[in-house]
């Protein structure tokens, strides 16, 4: 019997996986720019991130369509089927993470060029963002290496982001009576929320790693029934 059949199909599937996971690199670039825009109140850079989201959406559409075509024409089963199903989830998460960067960047101009920023809150947001970038890259690596342990570790990393998000909330409550500063703090809470969601998307990708490897899907953490 031939050792490997369907070489072209397998190559196509491998390329699509690389393209889908490459979407995480695009998200990481967008997130890096987003953090820079937050740090320096750079409204122009924020607008670039918003405009550039089309690239992430384009990647989603392109790979999504190709995966559907593969499903329709190649009848994948077993690991291939699980991989394609997972890549469809990964793509959705990539698209959502790109949108969260856009959400952050859209609130930056609200408080003008020189907002009454609170240094500690900006530090918390930037720390959250960097931690989220770490999660995204770890999710990508765990998927590429089919490393369930590394994928499960995303939960621990995500807890750091959740804690920072709560710190942001507490700080906003105690930010004082200045109306402009309070308004700014509210916009930063929206940004923190978007980053928290982005980190959650990375954990979702980790859950897909476990599904590809084991064939069983389970949430690493159940928000409605926390352990």
């Amino acid at each position: 019997m031939p050792e490997v059949a369907r070489a072209e199909y397998l190559e196509e599937l491998a390329n699509l996986e690389a393209s889908a996971l490459g979407g995480l690199d695009l998200v990481n670039i967008a997130l890096g720019r987003t953090l820079e825009a937050v740090e320096h109140q750079d409204i122009e850079l924020a607008q670039i991130v918003v405009a550039d989201d089309d690239r992430i959406d384009g990647r989603y559409l392109e790979v999504h369509q190709a995966l559907i075509t593969l499903l329709a024409t190649q009848s994948p089963v077993a690991t291939d089927l699980r991989l394609i199903s997972s890549l469809l989830h990964v793509l959705k998460n990539v698209e959502r993470m790109g949108d969260q960067c856009v959400n952050v960047c859209k609130v930056i101009p609200i408080s003008g060029n020189e907002p009454p920023a609170d240094e500690e809150m900006v530090r918390l947001i930037l720390t959250m963002g960097r931690q989220t970038k770490t999660l995204i890259m770890q999710a990508k690596r765990a998927f590429e290496e089919r490393d369930v342990e590394m994928a499960q570790d995303l939960v621990r990393q995500d807890d750091v982001v959740d804690d920072l998000n709560r710190d942001c909330f507490r700080l906003a409550l105690e930010i004082g009576d200045d109306i402009d500063k309070r308004e700014w703090a509210m916009t930063m809470l929206l940004a923190a929320r978007a980053l928290e969601r982005t980190a959650d998307n990375a954990v979702d990708i980790g859950e897909q790693v476990a599904f590809v490897v084991t064939g069983l899907f389970r949430e690493f953490e159940d928000a409605s029934h926390p352990s």
């Binding site: 199909y9 089963v77 077993a78 291939d80 089927l81 069983l216």
Partner: protein, 297 residues
């Protein structure tokens, strides 16, 4: 006890026809009374080895084929799945030099017991073949009634009419042929012919239906019609289907058994058997994964 061995004498000139009729499970006169949803029978095999002369085609197959389910046998060419199928109703032994070792039971009764009449076995375990094989010049009606006609016991015309109609309805063919029952079976389309063969098989009310690539000679529409029919028949029968079509196994079966052979000339063996859903989404064995994914075969 399955039907005992009899001293039935079959004239030489009738043998070919009888063999064909046996394949359709054709020796009963009882009307089709099996109610939909009635439990069918379980086939169990224990350490089955199958030979053609000195050549061992199948090695040590032990499996339980559950009632009222469709079990698909899949595997690459030469892995012995058709040979194994034919051993379940003692058709393997019709090949000169063919030999069977091990045990095959139908609800615990030994199919190969020396006191058991092979013809009785083939009535209880009917078979549908790859190529539709109606008697081409015989009418549609007589094709279905062939099994009844071959039995020495007489039944009334009205009873026979009832069996023919119920069998054709059971095979989803009645509406298409009810106005031309006297026309030759050979005049039907391929898909209709195959359903006619299924009607012929169920006319004698078997417990089990064996199907050897029943759709490989059919177009996609006829294939889906036969698959739908298989899905309905399982409420009354135990069904075993050999197929090369992975998607057909995935669509039409509840349980899938994967056969493979280590290399050409070696006997085929059972690699893995389990719920079809599991075999096609998360098989246990890498060999199975490679086969169902089209990595080889």
């Amino acid at each position: 006890m399955l039907g005992s061995a009899t001293k039935r004498a079959v004239p030489e000139e009738k043998k070919a026809e009888v063999t064909d009729s046996r394949a359709a499970g054709a020796t009963s006169t009882e009307p089709v009374t099996k109610a939909a949803g009635r439990p069918a029978k379980t086939i169990e095999t224990r350490g089955v080895n199958l030979f053609y002369g000195d050549f061992q085609a199948v090695e040590e197959v032990t499996m339980t084929i559950e009632p009222n389910k469709v079990t698909a046998l899949i595997g690459s060419s030469g892995c012995g799945k058709t040979t194994f199928l034919r051993s379940l109703n003692r058709m393997h032994e019709l090949t000169p030099g063919a030999r069977v070792e091990g045990a095959v039971t139908l609800d615990g009764e030994d199919v190969y017991d020396s006191r058991v009449d092979p013809v009785a076995v083939r009535r209880l375990i009917g078979m549908v073949f790859q190529q539709p094989n109606p008697f081409p010049t015989m009418s549609i009606y007589d094709n279905v009634a062939a099994g009844l006609n071959l039995n020495s016991t007489k039944i009334s015309k009205a009873q026979k009419d009832g069996v023919v109609e119920r069998s054709l309805r059971g095979a989803h063919l009645w509406e298409e042929v009810k106005d031309r029952l006297d026309k030759p079976g050979g005049g039907l389309s391929g898909g209709q012919q195959q359903r006619l063969c299924i009607a012929r098989a169920i006319a004698v009310e078997p417990e089990v239906l064996l199907m050897d690539e029943p759709c490989s000679a059919l177009d996609p529409v006829a294939t889906l019609a036969v698959e739908d029919l298989i899905g309905e028949l399982k409420s009354r029968y135990t069904i075993v289907i050999v197929t090369h079509n992975m998607q057909q196994a995935a669509r039409a079966s509840d349980v899938t058994a994967f056969f493979n052979l280590d290399e050409t000339g070696k006997p085929g063996h059972l690699v893995e058997m389990g719920p079809t859903e599991a075999i096609f989404t998360n098989p246990n064995e890498k060999e199975t994964e490679d086969y169902v994914s089209g990595r080889f075969g």
